[in-house]
Structure formats: C-alpha cells, structure tokens
Amino acid sequence: MKLYCLSGHPTLPCNVLKFKSTTIMLDCGLDTTSVLQFLPLPLVHSPRLSKLPGWVSKDGTINLEKELKECAGRVFVDSQPEFCLPERELLDLSTIDVILISNYHCMMALPYITEHTGFTGSVYATEPTLQIGRLLMEELVNFMERVPKAQSATCWKNKEIQRVLPGPLKDAVEVLTWKTCYSIQDVNSALSKVQLVGYSQKVELFGAVQVTPLSSGYSLGSSNWIIQSHYEKVSYVSGSSLLTTHPQPMDQSSLKNSDVLILTGLTQMPTANPDGMLGDFCSNLAMTIRAGGNVLVPCYSSGVIYDLLECLYQFIENANLGSTPFYFLSPVANSSLEFSQIFAEWLCHNKQSKVYLPEPPFPHAELIQTNKLKHYPSIHGDFSTDFRQPCVVFTGHPSLRFGDVVHFMELWGKSSLNTIIFTEPDFSYLDALAPYQPLSMKCVYCPIDTRLNFHQVSKLLKEVQPLHVVCPEQYTQPPPSQSHRSDLMLELQPPPMPYRRCSVLGLPFRRRYERIHLLPELAKSLVPSEIKPGVSLATVSAVLQSKDNKHTLQPVPKPLPLPPSKKRKRVVEEPPEVLAPKPLLSGSVPLEAFLAVLHKHGITEVKVEETADGHILHLQAEDTLIQLEEDGTHIVCDNNEPLRTTLRDLVLRFLMKL
C-alpha cells in the first residue's frame, strides 16, 4: 500500500492511495494562494492600477516592465491570475480509478485532473458537495472570464530571471506548473463524472475495496472517508469540525480501529477561537456602520457566510442596525442562498427540525423576505440603482485579486471611515491587501476557521486509536511564526508519518487474509473433525471462482457422463475419474501394534530391521518391504495388487484422516 502526495498544502490536499489494486485519489485541492502574486483584475478601468510602474532590475539588465508592476515596494505579475496545481508528474493520472471528495473547497482542481489527462474513472461526492462545488467553480470561471486579460506573462517564470526578482515572487515555488483557470466546459465535463453518495453509504470499488463517506461536520455535505477491505481499514480525515455550526455533526466513532489514519485539513488558525472572532466581527461591523462607514467582507459564496448571516440576523435588531442594507454580491449568490435551504438532511439537528414545521432551515430566508439582505449577481445591473450607503457588502474573492471585491477596494479604500473585515483564513490579509497600498480604510482580521485544532485532534486520536497516522509535515512541528508553541503540533506515539509535496510513502501494513465465500452446497459437504479442543479441521476440495474480485469456492463439478455412443470395449481399463483428493494423513504407525495386525491377517514371517529413522519390515513370504518412519510409510510391493491394498488399509487404520 502506497500513498502518493501531490499537494503540499495541508488544507488543500491531493493524495493518491494505492490499495488492493485500486488507485484512489483523495481530494484534489487547488492552491489558490499563488494568485496573491498577481495584480487585481478590476471590473471597471482603474487608473491607479494602470499607472503602476513596470519592474526593471536595479542594474537595468532585466526589463520586465510589461509583465511585472511595482506597488508599494512589492512586485506583482500583470497577467491573468494563475493557480498552483497538484503535482501531475508523480504518477500517471490516467491510472486513477476513483476520486473521493471530502468537501467543496477540496475539489477545485478537479477539472485539471479529470480533463485532458486520460482520466476515465469516476468521482464520488455528496450532493451538497457537488452542487456547491459547482457554484464555486462557476463563480471562479465567471470572475476570470468577465475581465479577460489580453496578455499572459511567462518571462518572469524563467529560472534565471525568477532568481533575481524581489521577494516574495522570488520564493514562489513550482511556478512552471501554474495554470490559468479552466473553462466552463471543463467544469461541466468534470462534474458530469461525479457520482452522488450519502453518508454511511457503502460503495464497492471493483469488488475489492469498500469506501464510505462519513459526516465531518465542517461544511454542507462535507465528509471523511473510510477505505476498507475485510481486513484493512484506512481512514481519511479531511476538514473536520467539532463545533456546532450548521452542518451535521462529525461522525467520530466510525473512524475507530483504523490501521492507518490520513489526517489533513486542520485549522489554519490554531490560536484563533471562532466564537471570539465572530464576536469581533459583529462589534467591528456595528462600530463602522454607526460611524457612517461601509463594511466590506471578502468571502466565499458558501460556508461560513451562512453562519455570519445567521449571527447578524440575531445581532442587527439588538444593535439597532435594522435599516442598514446588507448586500451579497456574487454570480452565484442567489443559488448559494437557495441551495442552502434544500439540504435539510445534511444539516445539524436543530436546523433539520425546522424543516418539519415546515420552515426554511436558515434564517437568511427571512432576511431576504424582509429586504434586509439583498443579493445580486454583480455590481452591474440592478445593484447600481439599489445601492445605498452606509452598507455591508459580502462578496468574493477573498484573495482580493478578482471578483466584485476589487471594485469595492478601489471605491472604499481611500476612506478611513470604511472597514474591511477578513473572515476567511485561506489568505494572509497583509499579502491580500498589498496591491492596494497605501490604504486608509480600517482592516480587521477575524479569521473564522472551524476545523479541528491540535487540542481537539489529539483528543480525537486518543479516542479512535489508529495504529498509524499520516499527516502533512507542517503538523509535525510548530508553525514557523510560533516556534516555541510545542502545543501547536501533533505529538503521537508512534510518531506520525509526515509527507510533503511529491512524497511517496509506503504505508506500514501487510495484508494476510482475504475473504472468500463457500457455496452452501460445498459447506454442507464439509466434515469438520475436532483436532484439538475448539479447533476443527476439514479439508476442502473446491473450484475457486473469482469474479469481480470476489472469490467463491464451489463444489468440484461432477464429470459429465460419457456419451453412450462411444465404444467401450475395455471397460476395466477405463482410467479413474479425477476425483476429490484423498484425505490428508497424520499421525504415525506404531511398530508393535502394526506387527500384531499383520499377524492377525496371516502375515507372520516379518523380519524387522532397525534404521536411523524407524524400521524396515521385510515380509519374507510375500517379498514385500514396508518402511515405517515417524512421518511416513513406504510400501514396496510388486505384482501383488490385492496384498498391496490390504497393507494399505492396515496402515490407514493407524492414521488420522483429515
């Protein structure tokens, strides 16, 4: 069993497990932090951005002023933003049989894996994961395609040139594998390969392996996966949460007794308490609005935004913000809000029971009904006429490089009355803001990451007790910025097996047994004999049938009767049919008792000769030798078939037949 690690990002994993002749990809996360190296894509022409100076090396030898622009001391690539893809050279992607998706954030690289690579397998995901994943992909494509960039910068990727660029561009890794966004055709084609699964559904892969998604508590439809055969169990834990937010709680007990547990997707903010962050979020929001400023919340279109809206639903009345407009801008805003209401089965108990009333599970339905929350596909169209300030705007993309958020940054960035509140933990807010500097607007950083922290995960592991744990190497040491915090890492016995991008790990277990089925007719024919107390033994002669990786033992078919037309002159000489083999023999033949039996059968003239291993009996009258040994008997008898068979039966009397 081997694990191929195609992504180095601990929360956007992409691993491939080879297990029992199946090749299973676990998630295909897309590392979008690479877009931070690029200039924002403005929706309307931005004089500020277009006037940024180009970059020329200090000595003037390298001139990349067309490709690279400088802003507040940092250099950005002026090109369509690109993503860092999972490793595609480590193994042949066309050999992948299935891809298991754990949540909608971890599937964004799917079109890169399934399209134009020869991939012919299928993808398994829950229905909310598919639907919301589709929305996020459509949104991404839309963000990119509505402001196409004519030029594409490639010179800076040259190794020699990249070496002399200023940081952090200099330190960007794998830049040659970076790719621009996929097309909507690729998205549709990739998603058409998804097969829907429900929690605790047992899915058979080629009859060899069973995979089962379990609720992971992190987002709508998010799952951990069990990959098991009859004797081996691998748990794949990715993006799990023990907090009570909107999704169904995490199923922990089903992870018990794993041979190997692959652990990814822990919180990226191990020191930030989500509840505290939510409180900060609300108070900062209220403070800005009261002062007459606007609030910008860069966020994904699904996930924590549901919790933010629910929190605000309770908060705005008390905080006297009832008349403040809340806007949610995204090409998929409407769909995201609508979809969230129809997945009752995937929600926490509290929300589920609302549907029985019947009421929508999320209160944002009421916010929309009372016109407190309005959603628009983009800043163009209806929004421009409805737009009132001061207001709160939720919009993407959280990287601040594309999407409607770019427009609001340009619009509001110059006023210190306004506030931007970061809630998504995926991007460093300083890096995100870099191309907008200098900024006057207030920045508040309230990253809300509900995924497991180190304290929760060590408690979880104590409970489910896997034999071995595999995790990204980042989890085996404290974060670089807090190197003294030894509590911010995994400490386990035996120590976890770390992986990094391009690692290939041999997973430590050996398969010994396989499940096989005896057909009832065969089972009935078995005659078990008790060899030792509690241990019975039966010999099985059967035909092994292997179909769909399932093995069955069938009774040996009876030979067909010979066709009657065949001439059968020498009936006697008909060779014996291929019969079930004779029983196994065990035990030994005691000399004295055997001699006595021979005597009884009229064989009296026996000369016994002692040898190193036993005795040789010479039946003188019959001219026959019997060699008696501890673990064998050899009868040498010529031309006397009746005698030979008699002797055979006498020997057999002393032996145990199995």
Binding site: S21, D97, G198, Q201, F206, H230, E338, F339, Q341, I342, A344, E345, Q352, V355, P358, R511, Y513, E514, R515, I516, L519, P520, A523, L526, P528, I531, S536, L537, A538, V540, S541, V543, L544, Q545, K547, H551, T552, L553, E573, P575, P576, V578, P581, K582, L585, S586, S588, D631, G632, T633, V636, C637, D638, N639, E641, R644, R648, V651, L652, M656
Partner: protein, 622 residues
Amino acid sequence: PTGLYAVPRSMHVSLSISSSCSFSGAGQDVGRSCILVSIGGKNIMLDCGMHMGYNDDRRFPDFSYITQQGRLTEFLDCVIISHFHLDHCGALPYMSEMVGYDGPIYMTHPTKAICPILLEDFRKITVDKKGETNFFTSQMIKDCMKKVIPLNLHQTVQVDDELEIKAYYAGHVLGAAMVQIKVGSESVVYTGDYNMTPDRHLGAAWIDKCRPDILISESTYATTIRDSKRCRERDFLKKVHETVERGGKVLIPVFALGRAQELCILLETFWERMNMKAPIYFSTGLTEKANHYYKLFITWTNQKIRKTFVQRNMFEFKHIKAFDRSYIDNPGPMVVFATPGMLHAGLSLQIFRKWAGNEKNMIIMPGYCVQGTIGHKILNGQKKLELENRQTVIPEYEPGWSLEVKLQVEYMSFSAHADAKGIMQLIRMAEPRNMLLVHGEAKKMEFLKDKIEQEFSINCFMPANGETSTVATNPSVPVDISLNLLKREMALGGPLPDPKKPRTIWRASLRLVSPEQALKELGLSEHQLRFTCRVQLQDAHSDSDTHIRIYTHLKSVLKGYTIQHLPDGTVMVESIVIKVSSSPEEPNTKVLLLSWSYQDEDLGSFLSTLLKKGLPAALSSM
C-alpha cells in the same frame, strides 16, 4: 484442502403478512399494509397502515398476531415506514403508543415531516368530528414521532451489529422509499408503493443490482399496462376545460400531498398556456403547508424541477389560490382541489354534496377509493346515495340522509404505482432470487406471478391475509483465506485479466491443493504414505524409447491428466513417477518402477495394473 473451518447452516426467511386487503370488482382498492419479516433471527415490521374503509377494530392490523399479550418491543427489532400514505403509516401511533413499542422506527426525512401532519388530520376527523373514542391522541402522535430515526437515501443504517437497512428512491410520493434489509448475506427488499416512470414532480424508482433473496413488491396494477401518461394528462385537461367552458364547476378530491401537486403543476401550465381566467382553488391549511414541504424537500423531486428550482420554483403557483368555504356557492365556473381524496369526510365531501345535483358540474377522482367510501360508490355508478349500515364510512350523515348524483363522475388514474411493466422492470434491476407479491387482487396477482416465473425462472409467492410464507435461503459461508494461498491458486489460472475491466463472464476453474500450512499451524505432522511397485514387461526398445512409448501410450489412455516426460527420462502422471530400467543381460526385459503417494492411490493402482499388460506393439517410438 486448506485450513478452513466452517459449519454449514441453513436459514429461512419467513414473511408474515398480517394485514388484510379487501378488493372491489374494479380492483381500485387498497387495504392496509403491514408486513412482518423474519430474517436471520431478526423481526422487522414493514409499514404499519390502517384501512380507510372501516371504522371499527378492523381498521388497524391485528397485532395480537405477533404477540398474544404485552408489548411489541421485545419481539420487533425495528419498524420501517415506506411513505406517508395512511394505508402505510396510519396505525403507527396505535402500534407504538397503545399496543406498545419503544424500539426504533425508520422513515425518510420527508415522511417524518409529513406523516405526523396527516395522522393529526385524520385523528381530528375521526375523533373530533365523528366523536370516536379508543383512538390515538395528539400527544401519542408526538410521542410516536420521537421514536423515529430519519433515513437518508443510500445510507447504510446499522440497526444493530447484524441488521442493516438501506433506503432507495421509490417515486410514488414525496419521500417514498424502497428499503433493503440485510442480515449477514441474506437480504430482503421491500418496495412499498413505487413508480417506475417519472411524472411531473417526482422521479422514477431506482435500485441497484442488489440481488436480494426476496423482493416484496406491491402489485396494485398487476395486470395493467397503462397507456402513456401524456394521454391521460391530455384527457384530464380536456375534461376540465370542457366543463369550465360550459360554466360548470370541477371538484377534484385529493390527498393533500402527492397527486395534488402533480395536478396543480399540470393545471398551472395549462392555464398559463391557454390564458384561462376561471379560478383554481386549493383547500387551505394543510395544502399550503404541503407546497412548502415540496419546496424544502426539492431534492426528492424529479431532475427537471431540481435543476430549475433556483430560477423558478415549480411549487409557487400563480393561478392557484387558497379556497374558502364561502366560495362553495359562488356562481360561475371554478376548479377546486379539496381534501380528502376518497370523499369520506371533510371539505371535499361538503363541496360534493353542494354540487352533486347539477349535471353541468364534474367530479374527477384522480386515485383510488376504498370500498365503503362515497368516492367508491359513485365510481361504481351509484346514482343515489343513502345512509347504509354503520360500518361503512359516511361520517357527516344525518338520519334519512340521501343524495341524487347528477354531476358527471370521471375516474382518472394518476396514482403513481408501478404497472406490470414497471414491476418487471424492477425485477430486472434488482435480480431477486424470490419474488413476493403483496397489495393486490389475487386473480391479477396470479397472472403476474405466472409471467414472472416464466420470464425470470424465480419462485413467486403471493401470501393471503395473515398467511406466512417461508422462503429458504441459501446463504454462502464467508471464510478467511490466507492471501498466499489465494494468490497461489489464482496464479495457476495463468495471467489474470485486468480486474478493473468489466468482463461479462470470466470463470477461472482452479483446483485447490493441500496447504501444509494448515497442519503446521495445528502442530500436526503429515504422514506420507507411499507405494512403490515394480512391473516387468517385455519391450524390444532402448530404455529411452520405452520411456517415450510409455508416455505416448498413457497419453492416449489417460484423458484429462497431466502427463509429463521429464528431461531425465522419467514419465510423470500427476505426481506418479515411472522409471524404466533394464539389465545389460536382458535388454528387452524392462523393469518399470512406479512410485506414488496415497493421494494418487486410485491412479497408481490403475497404472500398475495397466502397465502390467504391456505396451501395444503399434505404438510408434517417436
């Protein structure tokens, strides 16, 4: 032979149908569904329905059939409800709260949401309006629902260590499910009511090739092969249109959930297309709520509705308004959907009584009517309704009550049950080993049974009321095989085909041989019994030629055996070694040395006898 320890066992799955179904001549009648399955030592109750045609004890299943006294908790491992129709869940609070059952009750989320509402609705009609006693209370419905565990589609629910259940989509009504029950390698699939063709709001039933030991299928439409849905819809619209055009009123008695929504979608689109002005009403309360359930459980509807729901929710109707009792006497044409569907009580009966006298009006019955209900009577052409004996349900009667039926009565089967074609289709999908038909009329079931047995060569049962069918199953015995042995045996079959490539038939016949490992593990030593036999024969050839001659001879005599001519000259038949030698003095007198182990005793004995007879002269030496 290998170290496999197995004790064969044989098992039975018995099915007890503890429900009665009564049928009218038209075969448009449903009884109450309540099936008891015993499988692998587990007892499962499938559905717990009530009979709408009775208002006495016969209404509920006879639970004394299960236990003479006491609660059902000890006897039942779980109860599964397939969908929210009262003939499938109506007796649930009676069973759990009045007879007594505290174990788990499984149903899908939509069923869990809607079922208590229908139960409460029914309770109100029965107790509050008709004043019946000995019926379950509102609190009992609530307590009963607390015992319900929701089921998701395709989720494998482990009821206990051995019993697992899995739900499949059944169409029929919102949240309807088929369910697979599995204990070890034995399994039963129960369909509940299902529908194999998608309609305007639901998808078609689907199940994987799970090869259950028994498939229990409803057979309501056992012999019908229904005409296309489109025709029926066109017919329905034509009739409504004609009546409205001539200024008549159309009454459509429906259950609040299910057909009602399908017909609303149908009328809504027709009204839009034809630019019709006549009002369409839906009786309020329950039905408004019902549409809301459809919106929230949109994932359970058909693909088209699911795909477009963000842009346009099909259950937000523009033309269909809430009905008020005061509209009954409004002049002019109108179309009214009113509950309940069998005209046995409530608003639909009230409207019917007002409109029945006018021949311009029309009543369209879109589904079954149980025997004894007014719906059933008028469908059978009864023109004068009178008070009959008290056992039939005519709830709102006054002494001397009678009514002339002048309005037009139409029956339109929109009921989403599988027809004969659909049942056969499901059998093809699931590939059961045995078939069991329930919920149908004996004569029609007989016809279907013959058809099934002919086409699929499987046993088909159709137990009558209170009858128990026992079906013997043949479970295979799972054992552990050492991977080494398995690989060794598989390797004998030559290179394996790619196990991931589906191949229609791939059979490798391999013989298993004895693994010494078993004995070793048991601490036993094997005892080798060998025989050696010298045979003399005259053969005027060189020793090596004799070897070849023996080889050729045996090849022709022994078919189906492995015969080898080894490089050192010896001939091997299976594991029997034959060596030829001769003395220089008598080169033509060959001594054959045969040596075999007890495993090859039969063959060895045969060979020694055979070779004693010498080799045929005609054998070529090459």
